[in-house]
Symmetry: C2
Subunit: 148 residues, 2 copies
Amino acid sequence: MELLFYAYRDFTAEPDAMLAKYGFGRAHHRVIYFVGRNPGITVSDLLGILRITKQSLSRVLSQLVREGFITQRPGSRDRRQRLLELTNRGVELERQLSQNQRERLARAYRQAGAEAVEGFRKVVTGIINEIDRPKVGRPIPLREARGR
Amino acid sequence: MELLFYAYRDFTAEPDAMLAKYGFGRAHHRVIYFVGRNPGITVSDLLGILRITKQSLSRVLSQLVREGFITQRPGSRDRRQRLLELTNRGVELERQLSQNQRERLARAYRQAGAEAVEGFRKVVTGIINEIDRPKVGRPIPLREARGR
DNA sequence: GCATATATGTCAACATGGCTGACTTAAAAT
DNA sequence: ATTTTAAGTCAGCCATGTTGACATATATGC
């Protein structure tokens, strides 16, 4: 428990500081990250990942759209949906924000060795609620292709 | 990065829900947890772990003291200090809150196996800032014994 | 085709837990 | 005697979560 607290504290500290320069917070980072990983994701799928209310998401998402980091386009199969994607600017910001975290992980992996990384992934996956484990590490299937 | 997000999200969800019944939040949990792990810790050491301002800490700490979960007593060597300890009530709440997390970790450990756990600990430790790694897993040395 | 359900968004109000800045008190250190 | 340190307080701000109520467009089902 202690390990996880410290790790999360240090894992988020530097991106948080960078985000502050844009007037953004950690919530913006999460949205950018998951939209980047799942181009074309729907609002409701994003809500399901973040587990926040749509009112909370709306605040940060509309800011990101307004400032040109994310675009919305209607779904072709279901035109109620607004599929989300990063703009070039969004991709750039994502890259910048994650760089620190990637480097931090890369260092930790290098020091610990491949076998330890394997164990790390196993345990961390085991901490996640069983229902959500299958979707980790894979992009959310596009609703476009999912049918209804 | 994704793994860590999901794991932390699910790791904190249930304690958060329990805390809400007491009118407490995650910040209270952190204080209770670290005071429980480090009986007699000083306010400034606690601030150093949590990395928040004393004004932020004060809000939750004084609530916990007022409601009888934590006691303060002056340091014997340095009487400016207020050493923090859980009351019986505090211990009980800590136990309750952490039970979920301990069980979750125990399940993950059991499924992953001892070797994976070893790797998990190595990698997570590597994620933590180097400067703080030594103190993880050990109680903070009491200032009483540390001298000044 | 009409009724209902769904995807998304919006307004308003509130709570939690961060923050800064300014200032106080008591005790320790020099 | 002066300065530094440990702790606390007051006030106000900001980010990000919440609930509840309601609006709009589109899809779906009978």
